[in-house]
Each structure stands twice: as C-alpha cells, then as structure tokens.
Amino acid sequence: MAILTVLWEKWIEFKHEWFKITVTAMISPILYLITFGIGMGMDKMVDGHPYLEFLIPGIIALTTMNASFNAIGMSLNVQRLYERSFDNVLASPTPLGQYIIGQMIGGSLRGLYAGCLILGISFLFGAAIHVNVIFFVVMLINGMAFSALGVMAAIISKTHADISRFSTFVILPMTFIGNTFFSLTGLPVILKMLVQLLPLTYASSLLRQLSYGEGVDWLSLAVLVAYTVVFMLIALLRINRSKNL
C-alpha cells in the first residue's frame, strides 16, 4: 500500500534528522511560552483562566501546525524543485491519492511529536491542563489539515521562494491571530470574522476547551475536518491535472 511507503519515507527522513527536527520544533514555542506566558502574562486572567493555561493550547495548536506544514510543504518543495526526486515518485505506479494521504498522515505524526514535546515542557512550566485521547486526536487532525495545505503549497509553488512567501503570508499571520495568544471575545466584529476563517482558530479553540476540561465542540471539529478535506482535494486536483509539474 502506497500510504505505508510514504510513511516509511517520512520515517527515514525523521531517523536521519531527528535531533535537528526536535530542536527546531521546540525553539519557537519555548520562546512564545517565555515571552507571552512568563514575561508578559503570568499574573493575567483570560476568560476566567490563568493566561498560561489559556496560552498553552494555542501554542500546541500552532506548533502542530508549523511542524506539519514544514515537514510536508518544505520537504516536498525541495523534493520537487531542487532534488527533483518527486519526479521518480510521480513516474512510479503510486496512486496519487494514497501518496497525498500518506504525506498527510506522516506530517500529522510530526505535528503530534512536536505538540507532545511542548505539552511536556508546559507541564514543566507548571501548567494545569487536562489532556485526554481527544486532545491528541485534535492535534492529529490539525496536523493533517496543515500537511494537506503543505502538499497544496508545495505543488502550487513555482520556485523555492514561493513556499517561503506562502509561509510568510499564510502560516505566520495564522500563528499570531489564529486564536492563539489572545481571546476573541473583545475583538472588533470584522477582525473576529476574519479570524474565524482560519483553520487554526478552530484547532486552538478545540484544544483550549479540552484543556479546560470542557467537552468537544463538534462544530469546530467538523470545520477543521472540512478544511482538511478541501486542502486535500485541491492538492489532489492540482497534482492530477497540472500539465507541467
């Protein structure tokens, strides 16, 4: 099954670079935790919870997003435009749908790994957050959504710089305004509507509710799954129809 082949490839990638991958996944989130959690908001309360407890699910959401997107988007971009090794995959009898699903699962596992690292560090910071199985499932689905976005971005990109631009214009803004560092309660209506268009908003919201010990917001989960499916379909369509990949 081609999905297993892609997962094997992602495992080899991880096996060779695990130290760099681990360190890279931790740097930004730790800086966010120190800057926003400890430096600026240790004594603040948001929505009736200490700011650190509000912040950590957002940081986990953005960490899974970044790790998954980079694991797939950046890697596939290099394979396609620089190493050209994607040519060999494209010429092989690998069903392209399975290839994309494999990338999504591989990317989401990398996201889960990075998210778990931050979760562990958060406990060291003394955060009192509830974690259950659904919490990890949400991390995985969030990872799948952004891995699919990574495939889409890598396939659409025409140069190496394009994927960096995509990251700057799409991923970076989402990192800061995707319901991660501040509450949406007091936002102006237009900004709130804009934020609600972002998939990360739903991942942050879901993880936050779960970490507070509240139930699952099925609507948010459905929106996140819908984004995943849409990104996957766009990537599949593009990979199938593009005359000059």
Binding site: T5, E83, R84, S85, D87, N88, A91, P93, P95, K243
Partner: protein, 278 residues
Amino acid sequence: MLEIINLGKTFQNKKVLDNINFKVEKGEFFGLLGSNGAGKTTIIRLISTLLLPSKGKIRLDGQEISRNSVELKQKITTVTQEYTLRGDMTVTEIMEYQGRLYKIPKDQRRKATKELLTFCGLMTHRKKRVRELSGGMKRKLMLCRALLPKPELVLLDEPTVGLDPFSRRQMWDLISGLNRQGMTFILTTHYMEEAQLLCNRIALIDEGCLLEIAPPLEMIKRLGVIAVDVATAAGIKREFFQNKELAIAYAANLNDPFTLRETNLEDVFIKRLGRGID
C-alpha cells in the same frame, strides 16, 4: 508495445513538440536523437507522465497512459537527465524506496538490490548518503534504481552523462544484456557511438518535429558508408561515398591531406540536422 500518436506539447504558447508519431515494439532498443532543445527529453517526460500532452496520445499495450494508470506505470521506469535522488537517503534506502514504490516483495527487492549494486560497484558505498556520492556514482545508482523493478520499458534520458569510459561500457553491457532478454529501452543520448552500438532504430528529432526513423546502419548506408575528410585551408571538408573504390577515386585527385574512414552515426546526425561543417 508503445504507441505515440500525434503527440504535441506547448509551453507558454511555444510549440516544443508537434505531431510526433512512432511505435516501439517489445524488446526493441529505440533511440531519440536530436540537438539540444529538440524535444527528446520532453518526449521522455511525457511518456513517464511527468508532463501531460497538449495534444495526442501515448498508448502502452493498447491502453492510454495517464498519471493514474497504476498498472501501466508498473511496467515503466525512467532514468532522467537530472539527478532525481533524495540527498538525505543512503544508497540502500534509495533502492528500498524504489522497491516499495513499485511494490516489489521484500526478498526480491533485497536480492535485486544486492545484485545491481554489486554489478555497478556501489555495494561498498551502500551506507553512504546520496549527497556524499560522486556524479558518476549517482548516475549508476539511478540506473540501478530504474532496473530494480525489472520493468518492461525503461526510459533512458542521457543515462551515461558524467560516467568514465569504463563505467559507460559497463552500463552498455548491462542494458544490452537486459535488452537481449526482452526488456525494451528508449534512449536519448548525445553520444553517437552509444546510439549506434545499442539502438535497433533511431528517430531523428529537430525543433520538435520527427525527421526520420530508421536503423542506424540504414541511415549510414543512405549517406554513404565511406567518408573522406579533407583538410583544406578553409577547414575540414567531408564527402561520403557508397563504396571504398569511389572514395579512393575521389581522393586520388585531391591535393590536400585527407583521411579515409567508415561513416558513423555522428556524420548522419551532423548532415541531417543541417549543422555540417562543410
């Protein structure tokens, strides 16, 4: 086995291939020759579905090839002109990945990997990452990778570029041996000696158009089997003759130094593509 029907390809309103038609039979060694930018690589990339045609069809065993033709693509492998290897993988991992992509059973892919790497002298480098290999080694690895699934059709786009003469001949032995066992090859190359030695038939391509398809010897015979190179003050002048006697008679009247030799495919290439020096 392979049928190219009215194939055309346009890049940003520029026609790079126009109305290409040819058939390659099973077990044939078919060459595509042409100058740089003639469209040879585009044909290879279209057959391997890396590009999709702007018009026309490509059929393998009577069925049209598309990106999702899983069963048809199982029969084809490609050695591309550029290195298309993952730099972070080791030699063994590259072969393992290929075996998995082509669904080759574990025992079979390990056995074939060992045989191919040993033949190409890469066995001692099997634990090295691709980025640590020399250009020649990468080229050999790409050929090993293409042969691993024992495909019915192998597309070779300048497969021996960067190889030393010994390794090149080693590759020729390997692929001509496989061709004798029934494997079909399509080759693009700028080494005329390679094309003449390996190919049963050759297609001459110029500026995206097919000029001629014939066996290399037939092309040579048509031009004249004996060549006389005359070193004139204006440069080398070349004449072709149907037999040695005619060539000798011509040479007897020459005042300039000359060389009498057998015509080769390079002469045909230069003459047919209009880039002769005379």
